[in-house]
Assembly symmetry: C2
Homo-oligomer: 293 residues x 2
């Protein structure tokens, strides 16, 4: 059989025929990526054996997902999130040395250039929800405290929305803040106990979740980006282990090491020591940064 | 380790964690499909190890592909076509018994309710290009001629466009026709020698092809849908084996059994016998229909 005859497409050689066509690409990384995608796509189709109608449904789903996306809504990122792809890409790009804190997804609600606040400030500007004291220490993998580390935090308000989802309703920069660790590597600020919330579920991805018997909720969490000179940037969350969705985060962001007890403090002495007026929640969580490579 | 602890996502168990979430779907076929897609998608990502920027480029490519699609243009079908997915789905859905003619993709340019024409009619209404006589026989797998088989044919004109791509420029139903085979199973009509043409390449899929060093052309071909009572419908093409793109069809539609010599006839005696005035091309191709199952 000549090389040309081998080139005819059939059910057995389908992926090889497609991949052989891109062997001369001048963009080798793109060719590699398209090659791997083609091989797995053909393998999936051989396993699924879709009818023509099922194939057309897939085309229509992808088209609707594109049409749902604009500058304010990215339905393909949601699709990547709910299939665990975003978390997998995050894991691949953030392999940490033993002992370093684990990363999780950035999510779509981070805002740059948030004002830096003094340690102990309260980022809850709408006064809603239950007060929460968040504190801990930033360290290197050998346990040395990191002073001057930048901590960028953000969370939902008590209605389950980020400020940028409710512009004009929530105060600007509500429940966001940037802090710098003290000499001893510690940080401390006040927020509100975060709430679980649904990812946007009024599009094709939400419909798919429903058909699959899946809910759209993310368990309550607090976002962190932690940066310090000489260390790898850490993008992560801490999660409320008592949240009802803690074992079924719609985007698979939960890791065991990121669970942090949201503890109710109602002892009058401790309330007084922490400078509060009434009962509050407290979460203490330390982070360990990996050295820059 | 408890079942719940196993549920935490990590790089190794990522696909299993996602798939375990859809085990209770009330749509088992959808759950099966999403499960297979998830497993292959995660395997592909582990192999590719995309950077965050590459992942975002993929999100943007899919979004642009959705935005390019509307009622008149289906960029996701083009993507399926150029990755060989459409042909693979066609192959899976059209496994024919030994001896039966092979199928290939329908393509987007079929038109229903085309007028039935008498055998020997000329479907070339714009008078462009080189005349071509197309004839052959429709048979069952045991060689019995099939009389009254319906043959629905369509092709590009000499400029490389289908009539529906040039409404108002080409006459309606130019280079389309429906015929019925004679008692002896034969068919015969006149058209124009078809031309190679590009698939629409001004969108994201065209840009991808260019980056991959691939051209957008389909080799010259003639479309057929053949139907007869008691037999499986056959959707196929015949291809010009001398076309410069015959070994590199952008959508992988070519099969060896679908090559049909487009022969130049310039012998005055044969020209007279076939009722022509000048030289013409001739293609003779028989089709074998599989019995209905």
């Amino acid at each position: 059989m000549s090389i040309r005859e081998q080139g005819y497409f059939n059910e057995e050689n389908s992926a090889d025929v497609v991949i052989s066509r891109i062997a001369k690409s001048t963009e080798p990384r793109l060719a590699e990526i398209v090659g791997v995608v083609t091989r797995h796509l053909h393998a999936a189709i051989k396993e699924i054996e879709p009818t023509q109608d099922e194939w057309m449904s897939a085309i229509q789903f992808l088209t609707a997902t594109g049409h749902m996306s604009d500058d304010w809504r990215q339905e393909f990122i949601l699709l990547s999130d709910v299939l665990g792809v975003s978390m997998l890409v995050d894991a691949i790009n953030n392999r940490k040395p033993s002992g370093a804190s684990e990363s999780t997804v950035l999510g779509p609600f981070h805002v740059p250039n948030v004002p830096e606040l003094p340690m102990g400030a309260n980022i809850c500007l709408d006064g809603k929800g239950e007060p929460m004291l968040i504190k801990g220490r930033i360290m290197s993998t050998d346990g040395t405290p990191i002073s001057g580390a930048k901590i960028d935090v953000w969370q939902t308000n008590d209605d389950g929305f980020y400020d940028v989802q409710q512009k004009g309703i929530q105060p600007d920069f509500n429940l966001r803040g940037v802090f710098r660790t003290s000499e001893d590597g510690t940080y401390r600020f006040w927020g509100a106990k975060p709430r679980f919330y649904p990812i946007p579920d009024d599009g094709p991805v939400g419909k798919m979740l429903e058909s699959l018997g899946r809910h759209p909720y993310r368990p309550a969490h607090l976002h962190y980006i932690i940066e310090a000179e000489g260390f790898q940037k850490l993008v992560t969350h801490i999660f409320d282990p008592d949240d009802e969705y803690i074992h079924s985060d719609a985007v698979f962001g939960v890791k065991k090491s990121l669970l942090a007890k949201f503890e109710l403090i109602d002892n009058p002495e401790i309330i007084a020591i922490e400078g509060a007026n009434s009962s509050f929640y407290k979460v203490v969580h330390d982070f360990v940064l990996a050295a820059a490579s």
